[in-house]
């Protein structure tokens, strides 16, 4: 299939990229891409706009960071626990939020995430705005030292591919099919005997757990977990990434995340630094006015290619 070819091409690209580009930067792109893909699973395929996904990213990060600093666990275990913590938080959020629809859903998630932010701001173990600094990367399975950036990058790539595969699979699974039906016509799905809230809830939990996975990984890459990751700006940023890339497309969030992270990276240094907000703003405006369906949507227009 066409998608398959594209996936393989991208994978090859990802495998070779660190020989040219700075691996930590690439790892950051992958973390955000995973975050955006996880978010898009909810928005693009379940039609649920979460405005609180930073809570999961941050929770993954803080839990993994805390464990790495204090528990002596190996990184893969710390990441798994971080992911589970995010999933658990997602389970609680989801329980409360899926009862509401549309903008109210978005607002409930936002509000819950603000409470979580407050928790991380006040909790003694997070060091307030300083965050958890100096998180050790540790050695994978106690064997492979991750402090080497190249090694770290390939570890992140592995995690990303796994997460990305799972999202893809979820979208194209029997569960994904029901999700699509619910998005199309919720009442009808109910009358066919589907407890729509349970399906939305599961989608929410998967999305939250994967967002937390992204956060856990990011913490290892940067050896830092901070309030930035739980701030509502981060929840907003992932929406922007997804929109810029293209909602409801598999590649969209990936490209969107890559695009925005690269742009931020490029703009934050050098001459443009002073204009970073203005330029970002202009990019968003232009994006909306000229390519509304996102980068991928535009490409798809050329190539009507349903996934």
């Amino acid at each position: 299939m066409n998608n398959m070819k594209l996936n393989l091409f991208l994978l090859a690209l990802a495998l070779l990229a660190p020989t040219v580009l700075y691996p930590v930067f690439l790892a950051k792109v992958l973390c955000f891409a995973l975050f955006a893909c996880a978010f898009n699973l909810l928005l693009g395929f379940a039609g649920l706009l979460s405005f609180g996904h930073a809570a999961f990213l941050g929770t993954g990060g803080y839990v993994t960071g805390y464990l790495m600093i204090n528990s002596g666990l190996t990184p893969e275990i710390a990441i798994i626990l971080g992911t589970l913590a995010g999933g658990l938080l997602g389970a609680i959020f989801g329980k409360l939020a899926v009862k509401r629809e549309g903008i109210y859903f978005a607002m409930v998630t936002l509000a819950l995430a603000q409470l979580v932010f407050f928790f991380y701001l006040q909790a003694p173990f997070t060091n307030g705005e300083d965050g958890l600094q100096g998180v050790p990367r540790g050695a994978l399975f106690g064997l492979i030292d991750l402090s080497n950036n190249m090694v770290m990058y390939y570890f992140v790539l592995t995690i990303f591919v796994a997460g990305y595969w799972l999202i893809n699979r979820t979208v194209h699974s029997p569960f994904g099919q029901v999700l699509k039906a619910i998005r199309e016509n919720e009442d009808r799905a109910t009358s066919l005997g589907y407890d729509v809230n349970q399906y939305k809830w599961l989608a929410f939990v998967i999305s939250a757990a994967l967002a937390a996975l992204a956060g856990s990984t990011k913490t290892l890459v940067f050896e830092l977990a901070s309030l930035t990751d739980v701030h509502w700006h981060m929840s907003g940023e992932v929406i922007l990434m997804t929109l810029v890339g293209g909602v409801g497309t598999i590649f969209g969030p990936l490209l969107g995340a890559g695009f925005i992270v690269t742009m931020q990276n490029y703009l934050s240094g050098g001459e443009m630094g002073n204009y970073i907000h203005i330029i970002m703003g202009a990019v968003f405006v232009i994006c909306v006015l000229s390519f509304r369906s996102g980068i991928v949507g535009q490409l798809m227009k050329f190539k009507r290619n349903n996934f």
Binding site: Y22, V24, E129, D130, G131, E223, S226, D229, G273
Partner: protein, 375 residues
């Protein structure tokens, strides 16, 4: 990295709350230092990169990492906000590169999280607390109330100031912790009014301080008690209405209009930046100069050698008066106790402080901790 090529990184807040205090101005200050130094060291042109930390530790850490790992940066300066400085200092400690902190208030860089590669210039919370609080308590203002930013620098300021108050026979009657970015302080002002304190201390920064002071004046608090701004930079002081801020005393590491030397540099800076320098701008210039001098003197850009040389040489320029760079990385220098001028005392918009007293460095800063002695 020891490659004979000196490369500086300046991390500033380009578009956020502290952009005026250490934004593009910090970059300009460092550029001026490099130019004044002659643009070359160890036979090669000095390179400089700059970036926007967005005040986020993760962004800062990512940039610092890229600089030192990928671009061969030797020292990172600027650094406003303790979270940012902390993140960068951590990266540099691991990769053995120098952190030239000019913008942060926290004193942890030379205490709790001290590292052989930290240099803390300009000021810190200890100096601010000692400088501002001590004279007031000694002058009989015994009862204090704090309006504190609910962030670690706020807590640190409050903690340090409380200590000074207690040591000097004063008393802290109460405090409120206001979230960062609070616009409406009226509720806190009422609480401060009700406390019956002599002094209300503002342990916050930037617009928070300005807004708190505004509300204090509006609700008549300034007529009943003194207000002490614990962390006020010149741009903030300029943003305050002289009618309400006039007479308020504070501590600064620098004032542009102190003497000919400071005026001369400041005029040059103003021409390039469009505004008078804050103490951080001056600090960035001063520390950059000191660093470059040390590289030149050491004849290498090897981190340990340069650090040793820096600490062995006494900094001395328009900014660093009677200064030493201690083995813990703390640059101890004279601080200024100033008063914000009232409207009729001002010649123009830049004429904002009058210097009440020069505080000797040893009085302003606390002694070095043994575990941070990296001599």
């Amino acid at each position: 990295t020891t490659d004979g090529q000196v490369k500086l990184g300046i991390l500033a807040d380009m578009g956020g709350t502290y952009a005026d205090i250490c934004g593009s101005g910090c970059v300009i200050a460092a550029e001026m230092a490099i130019e004044d130094f002659g643009g070359k060291v160890l036979g090669k042109p000095i390179e400089m990169v700059s970036a926007d930390s967005q005040l986020k530790p993760d962004v800062a850490s990512a940039i610092a990492r890229k600089w030192v790992e990928d671009e061969g940066v030797d020292a990172i300066g600027g650094l406003v906000s303790s979270a940012v400085s902390g993140a960068v200092s951590k990266v540099n400690a691991d990769s053995k590169n120098i952190t030239l902190i000019s913008g942060s208030a926290s004193n942890t860089f030379t205490t709790k999280t001290c590292s052989p590669y930290n240099v803390h210039w300009t000021y810190n919370v200890v100096a601010l607390a000692n400088g501002t609080v001590k004279p007031m308590v000694q002058a009989g203002k015994k009862k204090w109330f704090f309006i504190t930013a609910d962030y670690s620098f706020g807590h640190a300021l409050e903690g340090m100031a409380s200590k000074v108050i207690n040591e000097n026979g004063g008393e802290v009657l109460g405090n409120v912790r206001a979230p960062l970015g609070t616009t409406d302080f009226s509720s806190y002002i009422l609480q401060a009014q009700a406390s019956g304190a002599d002094v209300v201390a503002l342990a916050n920064a930037g617009n928070d301080t300005v807004n708190a002071l505004k509300a204090a004046a509006e609700f008549g608090l300034t007529e009943q008690m003194d207000v002490a701004g614990l962390l006020v930079f010149t741009p903030n002081a300029q943003a305050m209405d002289p009618a309400t801020a006039g007479g308020m005393r504070l501590t600064s590491g620098f004032y542009w209009d102190m003497d000919d030397e400071t005026r001369q540099w400041s005029k040059r800076f103003e021409q390039r930046h469009g505004a008078i320098p804050s103490m951080i701008h001056a600090g960035v210039y001063s520390v950059t100069m000191h660093y470059l001098n040390a590289v030149k003197a050491a004849g290498t850009d090897d981190t340990d050698t340069v650090m040793k040389t820096m600490k062995a040489t006494k900094p001395n320029d328009f900014f660093a008066r009677n200064a030493t760079l201690r083995p813990d990385g703390r640059m101890v220098h004279d601080m200024l106790y100033v008063e914000i001028k009232k409207k009729d005392e001002r010649k123009d918009k830049n004429d904002i402080y009058k210097i009440i007293k020069v505080i000797p460095g040893d009085e302003a800063y606390s002694p070095m901790l043994p575990q941070c002695n990296f001599s």
